[in-house]
């Protein structure tokens, strides 16, 4: 198994999840490393990707895992980065024996939200999850107001902006909607392009572990 961490930056922030998947797929084909394909008439690449990120948000920490016999992490980074379009460059690569199942295990993600006004309401922001915080969420059954405070794990503000650690994975705080709500509630002017995902975390014995560290533990 080969897992790699890549960014979604520059023009690529506007690519939908499915387009990212296809683009990464083509990039991997261009590396010409021996990747495994499903059998049958319509073989497809055996690849797993991080859960979708909202369109327009930059990320420094997306993950993909492919099934391959190729086992040179450094060689992979070179090959991949030579073959990928602008904005999707890889920064880490790990080879493991077992499937890390990143998408299934991730429970949190942290973000930096650039904003110079946030510091003025530092107190309020940093205590936002101490009491119910309602936000509009969309589900199959329609749109409703939901208390999202349990999904906000930590929030800090300083002169540069906001640092948010929140639920991501099967339960998810959509960062685009959350920033929209902050704008409404506190009269901020956060733009989507000011939001950057920094890392994704899995739950390991009740503690958050950054995905790269978690995979290294599987080696």
């Amino acid at each position: 198994m080969l897992s790699f961490k890549f960014r979604k930056a520059l023009n690529a922030v506007y690519l939908s999840h499915i387009d990212i998947l296809k683009t990464i797929n083509k990039t991997l084909r261009r590396t010409h490393i021996p990747i495994d394909y499903s059998r049958g008439f319509n073989p497809h690449m055996l690849i797993n990707m991080s859960q979708p990120l909202s369109l327009g948000i930059e990320s420094l920490a997306e993950w993909a895992t492919v099934q391959t016999s190729y086992d040179d992490p450094q060689g992979f980074l070179e090959l991949y980065n030579n073959c990928c379009p602008q904005g999707l460059e890889a920064s880490q690569c790990h080879i493991t024996q077992t499937k890390p199942n990143i998408a299934g295990k991730v429970i949190a993600s942290d973000y930096f939200i650039k904003n110079d006004k946030a510091v003025e309401i530092k107190e309020i922001l940093e205590n936002i999850n101490k009491k119910p915080f309602f936000m509009e969420v969309k589900s199959k059954s329609g749109v409703y107001e939901k208390d999202v405070s349990p999904l906000i794990y930590r929030i800090k503000a300083d002169a540069d902006g906001i640092y948010l650690l929140s639920a991501f994975g099967n339960t998810n705080l959509r960062c685009d909607r959350f920033t929209e709500k902050l704008n409404q509630a506190f009269n901020l002017d956060i733009k989507l392009r000011d939001v950057t995902r920094l890392n994704q975390y899995v739950d390991q014995n009740g503690e958050l572990k950054e995905v790269g560290e978690y995979i290294k533990g599987l080696l």
Partner: protein, 585 residues
């Protein structure tokens, strides 16, 4: 996000050439439809590749922004810009539009409008870029000629570099550049052309690439980051077509018939698979099954593709060149056939040399190979067509059904039957014939629809009659139609090729306010009449087209020129590749 699919405008595709290189000429390649359509066009990929390979040129792209983006640009008064470097269109030296279908004409104006560029060549000073049109619509460039400084007739690959060189020599003096440009084969300068009674008379000769093997080919094409219409690597086998179906403009427009050798094709396929990462590779040409060694090409490319887990998309083949050999090992999706007409009589008239027996046999093979999904294409409103011919279409569908259910099958048969409306096109033996009225089109569609309702498993799709009508008008009209296009655009017409945007009433209004009678363009033309595109020498002789027209009216067919030259006259522009005997045609 205020616009849908922002990736349409952001660029950053893999294989993007160096956009920062020192250059003397900046070119913006435009396409009057959205990104997904534009990026599926091989002509665009070819020109982009050639221009950027030139050490003196940087070529960028600009495609029609979807209305949401267009409105945003207008609202903020931002001029339309190129994808690669966000450079306003009006700051380029040259702008080239590839015009693929008549219904894109308003979109071309939409782009000029957003780019803050005056529509008409005569209204643009030397400060504006040189505007060039190319593409299949140049078979009759008159309806849009007044908007352009130059119209390329024929293969852009040939003309482009000559024009760019000349431009560099002439500096910014537009007049002297245009005067010199007009001397190049394939270059039509509407402003300088002589006209008689409103019809252009200055002769222009179609530009033709002599040797396709030596012509550049984009083996490192841009790889879009979002899904486009044809998301695959494309290999062009040959240009032109031997068949000579009498309604088919592409057949005559792209003659002479020129091949890429198998070795060249295999070499390109290797490079494409290496450089693109596409999951699929397709073979493209007008009638791929006619390629001399098509089995050999398919076998070699299939082998290459399999080794890379790439799917070879089987070309849609003519019924008579259909063979079980080609279908073996292909992905069993659906199979496409285009008999075009329902009876043998009418197929003779249009010179579609397919017999009922061919259809039956091909279907038997197809069903034996495991297909249960058939796509059939026909045309309605063909010259001499009677109701009997239309009922014949239903009969074919019926017979296919009957053949399928002769045996017990696991799956139900599904037939997708589509009809297009016949549009008389310039440079075809049918360029003189009448186009039927919209009422008659609708009557024919309903007749067929009612007939098909009785047949199990048939799904019927038809083209909008009004669109076909307008296509016919713009295919054969003259320069005066530019006022209708402009008027229609000003009324709000754009994206006319998209059902959800097409608005026929706005077009009717445009004709009304310009005082032109739409119906007059649909009439039968006299064989002696001077036609708006007669000033172009396409190689194929008018006398040949007249001969073909007369044969059509007598129900006589002309064999494919694959084995024997039928003397269409195009050899004056270049030699054709024929299977037997290489003599001069």
């Amino acid at each position: 996000m205020r616009v849908e699919k922002p990736a349409r405008y952001t660029g950053g595709e893999y294989n993007t050439p160096d956009m920062d290189k020192e250059h003397k000429l900046s070119f913006c390649l435009c396409f009057a439809d959205v990104y997904e359509v534009a990026m599926s066009n091989l002509g665009i990929a070819i020109l982009y590749d050639i221009l950027n390979k030139d050490k003196d040129i940087v070529c960028q792209r600009c495609f029609a922004p979807w209305p949401d983006m267009g409105e945003l640009l207008k609202e903020h008064n931002i001029p339309l810009m190129s994808i690669e470097k966000r450079k306003p269109l009006k700051d380029f030296d040259m702008i080239g539009f590839s015009l693929q279908y008549e219904m894109a004409y308003t979109n071309m104006l939409y782009m000029l409008d957003l780019a803050h560029i005056p529509f008409r060549a005569k209204d643009r000073s030397d400060d504006y870029p040189i505007l060039i049109a190319g593409g299949p619509c140049t078979a009759n460039p008159e309806p849009f000629a007044d908007f352009f400084d130059i119209v390329y007739i024929g293969e852009g690959e040939e003309v482009n570099s000559k024009l760019c060189k000349l431009y560099l020599e002439c500096g910014k003096d537009k007049r002297s550049f245009l005067r010199e440009a007009a001397k190049i084969d394939g270059v039509y300068v509407p402003l300088l052309a002589e006209t008689k009674n409103g019809i252009t008379v200055t002769k222009v000769k179609k530009a033709v690439i002599k040797d396709l093997n030596k012509a550049p080919y984009p083996t490192k094409p841009l790889i879009p980051n979002l899904e486009i219409v044809h998301d695959r690597a494309v290999l062009e086998l040959f240009r032109g077509c031997y068949a000579g179906c009498r309604f088919c403009q592409a057949c005559f427009f792209y003659r002479p018939i020129r091949y890429r050798d198998k070795e060249t094709l295999v070499d390109y396929a290797k490079k494409l698979l290496h450089n693109t990462g596409h999951e699929e590779i397709g073979l493209s040409s007008l009638s791929t099954g006619d390629y001399e060694d098509i089995y050999g090409v398919i076998a070699d490319i299939k082998c290459l593709a399999d080794s890379k887990n790439v799917n070879l998309q089987m070309p849609s083949l003519r019924l008579d060149s259909f063979s079980a050999k080609l279908m073996k090992g292909a992905r069993k999706s659906s199979l496409t056939f285009a008999p075009e007409a329902g009876t043998q009589r009418l197929r003779n008239v249009i010179n579609k040399n397919i017999t009922d027996e061919d259809i039956n046999k091909s279907m038997e093979i197809a069903f034996e190979t495991g297909y249960s999904n058939i796509k059939l294409y026909f045309m309605l409103g063909l010259p001499t067509e009677t109701d009997e011919d239309i009922l014949g279409i239903a009969e074919i569908a019926n017979r296919i059904n009957e053949i399928y259910y002769r045996k017990r099958r696991n799956r139900a048969l599904s037939i997708n039957l589509s009809t297009a409306m016949f549009v008389p096109k310039p440079l075809t033996p049918f360029q003189w014939v009448e186009q039927i009225s919209i009422d008659e089109m609708l009557r024919k569609q309903i007749l067929l629809r009612n007939e098909l309702k009785r047949i199990k498993g048939v799904k019927y799709n038809w083209h909008t009659a009004e669109v076909s009508k307008l296509e016919g008008v713009f295919a054969r009209g003259g320069r005066e139609l530019s006022y209708v296009i402009e008027n229609a655009y000003n009324n709000g017409c754009r994206f006319d090729g998209w059902d959800e945007h097409f608005n026929y009433d706005l077009w009717l209004k445009a004709f009304e306010s310009t005082g032109l009678d739409m119906e007059s363009y649909s009439r039968q033309r006299d064989l002696e009449e001077r036609l708006p595109w007669d000033f172009i020498d396409f190689g194929v002789k008018k006398s040949y087209l007249i001969k073909e027209y007369k044969k059509a009216m007598q129900g006589l067919t002309t064999p494919s020129c694959k084995n024997e030259c039928q003397m269409c006259g195009v050899s004056s522009l270049g030699k054709c590749r024929r299977h037997k005997g290489e003599g001069n045609a």
